[in-house]
Each structure stands twice: as structure tokens, then as C-alpha cells.
Symmetry: none
């Protein structure tokens, strides 16, 4: 490979070799690639040359690496429709992914001025704060923070302890349906905490959504913020 008169660098050759392996379905999303040492041995080159090749695929978003664990085939971005009714579990099932929610915190506290304004309650009124992680096929795709006004939804904290589903919890406290009233999107850089939870690098771009859900009566029942890992989710907006 080296002695012949090809002028393409070895690391590029390795990159395209691996890329065609992926294209052929030799490895499927979530699979672990051989270790760098194994690849170096297979190609008869130094580990750093292999690393250079892999880094190309990482740049392209085809592969994700985890220190100490290995290199894994990246899953294609999940389509996440933002419409009148935004339901995590339904969205992911529709996208053919296995939805999972991981609770990070759940407590009751007083609302700040800004939060109160959004929920149309008084500052200091009690709210339920639900903080967690959204996963698709076991891979973290977003961090969320939901606020529920306790004045209108007494008992929702207890309900959320039983089920991770917001829809179900709201149903328990008498809200059978709720619709998205507003969604605001901005791009931000990942903080250390978000980076840790989402398994991205600090400073990586995130898609932040600030949303408000209303009950059928037109009153706010949930105010949420969600940070999506930019390269794992594609938000789709319906008319």
C-alpha cells in the first residue's frame, strides 16, 4: 500500500476502507469498531495513522468514539416532529426508535418571576420541577427541564414518581389532552454538565427549545426547556 506509486495518504485510504465497511452494512449503528490496535495490526500501520483515519469518520458524523470504550457506529439523526401535540414516546416510536426517559431530579419549589409569567401564576407559587434525560435506543439525545404549576395540577409530583410519561402524569391529575402553544428555538453551546449528560464535547452545539403547553381550557400546564444534541436529532416542524 505504501510502496506503490499511489499518492493518497494511508490515513485517507484507511478512512475510505472503513467508510465502505459502514456503507456495506458490515457494521450497523451501535456496533463497536475493532480497537485501534487491532486495526493498526490489520493494516500494518501505526496506531496514530489509524486514529487519523478514524477521526475523518468522526468529523463526518459516521462514527462516535468514547474514551476507554471504543469507536461506535453513529446512529442516524432521529426525526422529532414539533407540531400541535408533542409527545416524546410517540415521536420516537414513530421514528422507529426505542424511547427511554431517565429522571435526574424531581422536586417542588417556588416559581421565579420569569417562570411564573410563563405559566400565568404568581411569582413564588409552588411548581413541580421535573428534570431528566431523553434517550433513543439507549443513546442520550436531549436534556429536559419541565415545570408544572401545582396550583392547577396538585399531585403531579407523585404521579411523575410513578411514571416517566408526562402525558400519563397529566392524565392522572385530570388533563386528558394538551397542545403546544409556543416553541422557541435557539442554538447554544453545551455546558460541562450538558456535555456530560449528552456525551458530547463541551462547547458542542445544542438545539435549545423553550416550549409552553396548554390544556384544552387554554391555560398553561407545562413550561419546558429542552436541549437536543444537535447531531442526533432533526427537529421537523409541521404546518
Amino acid at each position: 500500500m505504501r510502496d506503490s506509486s499511489d499518492k493518497t495518504p494511508i490515513w485517507k485510504a484507511i478512512a475510505s476502507a472503513l467508510r465502505s465497511d459502514l456503507a456495506e452494512g458490515r457494521y450497523t449503528p451501535g456496533d463497536k469498531l475493532p480497537t485501534e490496535a487491532a486495526l493498526a495490526n490489520r493494516f500494518g500501520v501505526n496506531r496514530h495513522t489509524v486514529r487519523h483515519g478514524i477521526s475523518v469518520l468522526v468529523e463526518e458524523g459516521l462514527v462516535r468514539t468514547r474514551r476507554g470504550a471504543g469507536a461506535f457506529v453513529a446512529a442516524t439523526p432521529t426525526d422529532y416532529p414539533i407540531g400541535q401535540r408533542v409527545r416524546f414516546h410517540e415521536n420516537l416510536n414513530a421514528a422507529g426508535r426505542r424511547p427511554e426517559k431517565r429522571r435526574l431530579a424531581l422536586d417542588e419549589r417556588a416559581a421565579t418571576i420569569g417562570e411564573a409569567q410563563a405559566l400565568q401564576i404568581e411569582a413564588g407559587d409552588p411548581v413541580c420541577a421535573y428534570h431528566g434525560l431523553l434517550l433513543a435506543d439507549g443513546q442520550p439525545i436531549a436534556v429536559f427541564e419541565s415545570l408544572f404549576p401545582l396550583a392547577r395540577l396538585g399531585g403531579i409530583t407523585a404521579a411523575l414518581k410513578e411514571t416517566s410519561s408526562v402525558t400519563e402524569a397529566l392524565s392522572v391529575v385530570g388533563i386528558d389532552d394538551y397542545t403546544r402553544a409556543s416553541t422557541r428555538l435557539t442554538a447554544v453551546r453545551a455546558t460541562a454538565t450538558h456535555a456530560l449528560l449528552l456525551h458530547v464535547a463541551e462547547g458542542d452545539p445544542l438545539l435549545r427549545s423553550s416550549s409552553l403547553n396548554h390544556s384544552q381550557g387554554g391555560l398553561p400546564v407545562e413550561s419546558g426547556r429542552t436541549w437536543f444534541a444537535g447531531d442526533r436529532v432533526t427537529l421537523t416542524l409541521e404546518a
Copy 2:
């Protein structure tokens, strides 16, 4: 590479995530933290990485671990009430901590324009500048800078040389009572100097308080700035 190589090590991020949980009062002294396995699952990392993070908190004295039992909260951030009367020693005693003040500088000089305005004196008028460190149970929690108008409080410099207590020193010069007229709070990043004094990392978040205390007569007797270590103190505001 994009993924997994944060600028801040994972174990540090975990340590600060847990630390802020403590600061927010999510766990109170005696409470059991989630198991290492649960935390590893929550953060999506290996148990050893979590252990590394926890060991930081153990070093800091915030957490105590018992083999076979779990990790327990040893101490939580000191509650520091900001009300009409703000007294360091009383505040810490009420919080069950041992208060201590360490003097860093004490001198007399001319007031700058801004300082004079706050103290309602003329620019250039002499003031006493008192600079020091506040500690709780021997751990530094804040850096303060107090200014006293010498025109109204002659002899306070000498008094402050005898006692570290502002309340006592003011009493010596005839001020038996004083009340908080205003408090302004902002979040800032720790400078190298503050970081050194407070035993935090440069750039860590500090809570800066700019305050003004009046005598019973309604005249300013002290203008102060205090930098609290964000994760060691919780300022509580009374009505």
C-alpha cells in the same frame, strides 16, 4: 476529535454536578446519595469515574462514605440570611457553623468618587478600609471589603484592630445598631486573587454582594462588597 474529550475531565464535571445538587438543597445532611451504580447510569459513565468525582466531595468534607452502606451528605452549604440586620457571627452560629474572620488588610485612605457617593461623604474624605476573609468551620466562604466613613466614625480603625467584629467595632465608636439599607447581588467569575483566597478554581462562579448599612439615624455607616464562594453559601432573602 469531537466526542468525549471535554476540556474539563468527566470526574470533575460529576463532582460539580453533585456539588450543585448539594448547594441547591436537594440533599440535606445525613441524606444518602444515589449509589455509585445509579450515578454511573445517570451520567452514562463507568462507576470508577463516578467514584473519582465523589472522592473530590469527600476531600472537601461535603460527603462521607461508608463501605457497604453508601455515600452520605456530611455538610451542606451554609445558609446565610440577608435581612434587615446582617451579622456574620450570628448568621453562622444560627447555621450551626463556627464563624471566623481573618483580616487581610486594614488601613485608612481617601474615598474615591463612587465610594463617597455611596457613603454620602465628599470624594477624598478619609475612610477606613477593612479587607478580610470569612470562614465557616475553618473553610473560607467569602472575601469582603468594608468601607467606613471616618468623619462619622473616628477611631473605628483602632477598634477594628482589637476586634474582628464589625458590630463590636461600630459599638465602640457609638453605633449601637445598624440596618441593611440595600443589597445588590450579581454573579461573577473568580479572579486569580479571589480563587486563591477562597480555595476555588479561577473562573468559578462567585456571588458578589454590594451592600450598604445605615445607622439608626439613617446615615450610611458601612459600604461593603462581599464575594461568596457560590457552592459553599446559600444566600436566603427574608421578607
